[in-house]
């Protein structure tokens, strides 16, 4: 079944764009709720980081 998954990406603008520390994937989640909760938790630790939530089909991210 090609269901929807929620992908959270983070960006740390304090780092140079070329640095691997400047961005990454927080996780791939089966629901928006889990994705939002993960962002909330991470944001509490790293308040300066920006997050982006996008949704794809599972096949697209595999």
């Amino acid at each position: 079944m090609n269901r929807t998954v929620y992908v959270v990406t983070w960006y740390d603008h304090r780092c140079s764009n070329w640095s691997p520390d400047s961005n990454g994937i927080l996780g791939v989640f089966s629901s928006k709720y889990f994705a939002d909760e993960a962002v909330k938790k991470d944001k509490a630790l790293y308040p300066w980081v920006e997050y982006e939530l996008e949704f794809y089909t599972l096949d697209e991210v595999k």
């Binding site: 927080l26 996780g27 089966s30 938790k41 595999k62």
Partner: protein, 146 residues
């Protein structure tokens, strides 16, 4: 040493049932077995209804099995097979489950959307999509290796 895990199901009314699983709770075993062999609500309900698990197999027997005979890896071995009563914990909703549930090395939940998510205490410590993790890590079915 055992790798302990918990297995939970989120019911359609939002409540959650949770059981304990003692052996091989890592994603390469329990994770793959849950994803591949317990991927319908009916099968997960049947699995959880048996209570605490010593070892997870790809099938649930309709009759009690010999607890000490582990030659047959196909079947889930419940503690009840040796007469032990184990708790099926009930939580009124997911928030309560998150706050109060028994955390083990790995926690698995079959959500209302009929999808497995995993909380890996060695990893991200978020509820990640189990099917994606298995695919991303190239984890194979332990039954196909045997």
């Amino acid at each position: 040493m055992a790798t302990r895990s918990t297995i939970a199901i989120e019911n359609q009314d939002g409540s959650v049932y949770q059981i304990y699983s003692h052996w091989d709770g890592y994603i390469q075993n329990n994770g793959v077995i849950l994803q591949k062999y317990y991927n319908t609500r009916e099968s997960v309900e049947k699995l959880v209804s048996g209570g605490g698990i010593s070892s997870l197999g790809r099938k649930v027997s309709d009759t009690p099995l010999d607890f000490d005979n582990r030659d047959n890896h196909d079947y889930t071995i419940y503690y009840s097979y040796r007469g032990e009563i184990t708790e099926i914990r009930h939580f009124k909703d997911f928030d309560t489950y998150e706050k109060e549930h028994q955390y083990e090395e790995y926690s698995y939940i079959f959500t209302k959307d009929n999808v497995w998510s995993v909380f890996d205490t060695y990893g991200a410590k978020d509820w990640l999509d189990l099917e994606y993790i298995i695919d991303q890590r190239g984890i194979t079915d332990p039954y196909e290796v045997e």
